[in-house]
Symmetry: C2
Subunit: 344 residues, 2 copies
């Protein structure tokens, strides 16, 4: 933070406004002075101070991303999509995590405030109270994988309900009736939607009392492992397990392996998310591919459109990205490939 525009002006024997004009190419400057300025700036290794600039501009050139975690395949892919789109549009990225905690969520919001031009928020567990505090920000916000029904924000989600419905139907069509379901975190709306899809498909098949088949999980491998062990104690034992996400399903696989139970012969297993590592499990995991990367890039593009004022009085976006059934060996020795049946 040492060499300023003033130093450059002095070195080039011009005024500071001329320097500014040359560097921003904001109006015509005589060629000789232009070169002089460029030369001086280069020699002095001058780099404008973005803080000073954004004090005038009211714009930072940055996008904020607030999500539960940065690690894990799901968030990692999401960030990849965000990063690519942001870089392509010359925005820098500020990233914060909530760890699904309200206080960290608020702290992150505070930290991003005015340091970025817009926010992308993923908070599946976001309660109504937090949602209410969001309009206090000046920046436009795009929510992803979050259910904010009542507010005028752009919202981009996956078709969690449709995917879970299709996945459950897949199991039903294989002849399974007793399909246990391992739920995600109770407060996460995406998890709730998946459970809803499960229940709907079961109900459509005339299967009552699914509640007895539902087990609490937490989107983690450990929770899936624990739930599987509880499921194994049921009598009669379910012939299939549909976990709310792939990590849980991987926990299930390891629990079944430990118990000497063969998949899919004895018990079929399915996950959700379509993580790349699901190809490498034993056996490869049936799942629902959600377009995580695309979710990120779509959110960035939408946000940038808003920032450019292109969407000034457009109605808030409400988009559910389509998901895709990935049938692998964990449910059926025969692997097929297909899109989500239209359930809208």
């Amino acid at each position: 933070m040492r060499v300023t525009i003033r130093d450059v002006a002095h070195a080039a024997n011009v005024s500071i406004s001329t320097v500014s004009r040359v560097l921003n190419d904001t109006c015509v400057v005589s060629e000789d002075k232009r070169l002089l300025v460029l030369e001086a700036a280069k020699n002095l290794n001058y780099r404008p101070n973005p803080a000073a600039r954004s004090l005038l501009n009211k714009s930072t050139g940055g996008l904020g991303v607030l999500l539960p975690f940065v690690s894990g395949e799901f968030f990692s892919e999401f960030l990849g999509g965000i990063d690519e789109a942001a870089q392509k549009n010359d925005f820098f990225l500020m990233i914060s995590t909530s760890h699904r905690h309200q206080d960290e969520f608020r702290a992150a919001m505070r930290a991003m405030d005015k340091r970025v031009d817009g926010l992308i928020i993923m908070a599946p567990e976001l309660g109504a109270e937090d949602a209410a505090s969001i309009p206090s920000l000046d920046e436009p916000v795009v929510f992803v994988n979050t259910n904010i029904d009542q507010r005028p924000f752009d919202v981009i989600n996956f078709d969690n309900f449709g995917g879970a419905h299709a996945l459950t139907r897949h199991l039903l069509e294989l002849g399974h009736h007793r399909i246990a379901h391992i739920k995600g975190p109770a407060d996460a709306r995406d998890a709730q939607e998946r459970t809803r899809g499960y229940r709907m498909a079961m109900a459509e098949s005339g299967i009552e009392d699914v509640v007895a088949l539902e087990f609490q999980g937490g989107f983690t491998q450990e929770s899936g492992h624990a739930a599987a062990n509880r499921i194994l104690q049921m009598d009669p034992r379910p012939s299939a397990i549909m976990a709310a996400n792939d990590y849980s399903a991987m926990g299930v696989l390891s629990a079944l392996h430990e118990a000497g139970i063969s998949v899919p012969k004895d018990v079929a297993v399915a996950g959700f998310d379509g993580l790349a590592s699901g190809q490498f499990t034993v056996p490869p995991l049936t799942s629902v591919r959600v377009p995580v990367r695309e979710l990120g890039s779509t959110a960035v593009m939408r946000l940038i459109d808003r920032l450019h004022g292109k969407l000034a009085d457009t109605a808030p976006l409400r988009l559910d990205l389509p998901v895709e059934l990935l049938i692998r060996e964990s449910t059926s020795a025969k692997a097929v490939h297909g899109r989500t049946p239209a359930f809208e």
Copy 2:
């Protein structure tokens, strides 16, 4: 218009400086005015503008992270470690990627400049020319997983050489002699170190002409797959393959699977990085666990110490974090099943 300190001062019937003093708790203010200010600030939802503040402070409260990619298990875990440590110390995070391209690397450096108080840079492919341009920054820098021999920066690496050496010895001790090696990107120093460890162990075993056993890879699954197919055409065929990282090794596993070759019975396979998903491959992958998460948090702590001036005239850090051999079934059936290895 956004609400400024002036609005608060007006609403509370005090001067701007009083507001500043109350909000920053910078000197004693009479209790009644204090409450007045706090009240007004709350009512107006006043949030100080960080740009204006950092113009004076010359500090932003942020850390920059520059790395090749954000997605993938390796970078994802690294970011997790960074995020945790940064959050604990109330620093926000700016993240940019180079995709291993020089121009993107420089663009990212420019974007971070002055927007953060310090930088963590992971650039295994960093050439001497780029290294030369780095001192032009005013912020302190900690390099991770990067070899910058000649410059006075803090550098934290893994013991790539030692890990590769130990891993190769493990294969040699299992009785393998013809051990093929799939290298990482030619310009990546961490990959080079791993290759060096491989060569050293081979040489110590009296095995000459290893160059014929080395194949170019690129740290990706696809490159590992392609290299494996080339290896399979060798005559005599190597009995073991040591890949420069886990992703390559997973590509090898799939190529061998396609070719109907059994692992580890026909060919043993080993990776490097110790990714979590290596537990789920068929068979589970022998690897070298590198403490990625710890690398991130250590770098943050070191950087913050520098920022606090605690390390004013300390010599630059040069630290190699220890790695750990993870022996799984892809090299030795004994690891999981408790059977005698077939080679003996």
